[in-house]
């Protein structure tokens, strides 16, 4: 019974994640471009080949010069990120239910204690850390594959004139499974978690802010709804 409930929450997370990813991917592409562009005071080395005046300017320019497809670049890896919410939200439900007896979005307006909010923060903290730990290795694998392509290009073009000499033949990693095995042999399991600390410093406060605000607002709305019903019944 409870297993089915957990499974239902996993399905719901994937459904919701897929919907929101498809709706918002264009916005994230624009965001990344705007964030990586720097001011005129920066050195030449770090200046970007584009300069958008505003968010709207970015949308217009990209649509005009690169077409609709440019807004959906990186969609496949973004959809891989669904595994993250498929872990995070069912676990959040599990922890919130254990700590408060309530599911996500549910609340008890008569309960005024601060422990309710601490429970929500703790549930978010634990679920986010579990989800990140479970899905972070795939981000490392993705990054390795991405930089490998670039290195190969450089290797074969300039290898002979490079002072570093000709690199070993062929790509270092072939296929995801072999790559994971090679990394494990050469560098140990810790290599799958390089950079996760930095990632958590950003992701955990973000998740805690989102969930706390969401639950607090839902509670405020439910209290207002109660008020309206009380008036009707009076």
């Amino acid at each position: 019974m409870e297993d089915n409930k957990f499974l239902a929450q996993v399905y719901a997370s994937v459904t919701a994640g897929a919907c929101s990813t498809i709706v918002t991917n264009p916005i994230w592409v624009v965001k990344t471009r705007l964030m990586s562009q720097v001011g005129a005071t920066a050195s030449k080395d770090s200046r970007t080949p584009w300069h958008y005046k505003s968010t709207i300017d970015a949308f217009r320019t990209m649509y005009r010069t690169e077409g609709l497809g440019s807004f959906y670049s990186g969609l496949a890896p973004a959809l891989l990120g669904l595994t993250h919410v498929a872990i995070q939200f069912p676990l959040y439900e599990y922890f919130k239910l254990r700590f408060t007896g309530l599911e996500m979005g549910q609340n008890d307006p008569s309960n005024q204690s601060t422990s309710h909010w601490l429970s929500i923060l703790a549930a978010t903290f634990l679920s986010k850390i579990c989800a990140t730990t479970a899905t972070y290795p795939h981000e490392v694998l993705r990054t390795r594959l991405q930089i490998q392509l670039r290195q190969r290009k450089i290797d074969y073009k300039i290898a002979k004139s490079s002072p570093l000499g000709v690199p070993p033949e062929g790509p270092r990693y072939r296929g995801v499974v072999t790559m994971a095995r090679t990394i494990l042999q050469e560098e140990g399991w810790r290599a799958f978690y390089y950079g996760m600390g930095t990632n958590l410093i950003r992701a955990v406060p973000a998740a805690m802010t989102t969930m706390l605000t969401f639950e607090a607002l839902k509670r405020a709305v439910h209290r207002l709804q109660d008020e309206a019903h009380d008036q009707e019944n009076a």
Partner: protein, 145 residues
């Protein structure tokens, strides 16, 4: 599928002042899906404001190698503009100030709002749907969604 007000626990008096009664009536008229959308959107905005500076730092660190000018196809500039979290924050602050920290906040808010509006309402609706599909959970009297 209608699940208006189904997440609400019954309560007695909750001591809200009379002046909010119009707002209360409006809240009561909202379907639960809209409530989830609106609450999700505002939650997204809040987390956007909190995490924008950290996101700017992360994006700069990730992207910096991509713009260096090349001679004969090899990277010339071997120095990195950004190194660690704090050093990057300092560099951004020196070059562009607070504006630099919140560069991209517009699209970030524009992005977080629909992300969480869509996520929260679809999640709640889909959860209800899959609860029904995957077995009856003997809908609890007070707190089922």
């Amino acid at each position: 599928m209608s699940y208006e007000n189904s997440q609400r626990l019954p309560t007695g008096q909750n001591g809200l002042p009379r002046s909010v009664s119009k707002l209360a009536a409006f809240a009561a008229s909202m379907p639960e899906a809209s409530v989830n959308s609106a609450c999700g959107a505002l939650a997204g905005a809040a987390s956007g404001i909190v995490t924008c500076p950290l996101d700017v730092i992360k994006t700069k660190l990730q992207a910096q190698g991509g713009f260096r000018p090349r001679v004969n196809g090899s990277n010339v500039a071997r120095t990195r503009t950004y190194t660690g979290l704090i050093a990057t924050a300092q560099t951004i602050w020196r070059q562009d100030g607070l504006r630099g920290m919140y560069r991209g906040l517009g699209p970030m808010l524009v992005g977080y709002l629909p992300t969480w509006a869509v996520y929260m309402s679809v999640y709640s609706g889909a959860r209800e749907y899959y609860y029904d599909r995957l077995g009856q959970f003997g809908h609890k009297q007070v707190s089922t969604q």
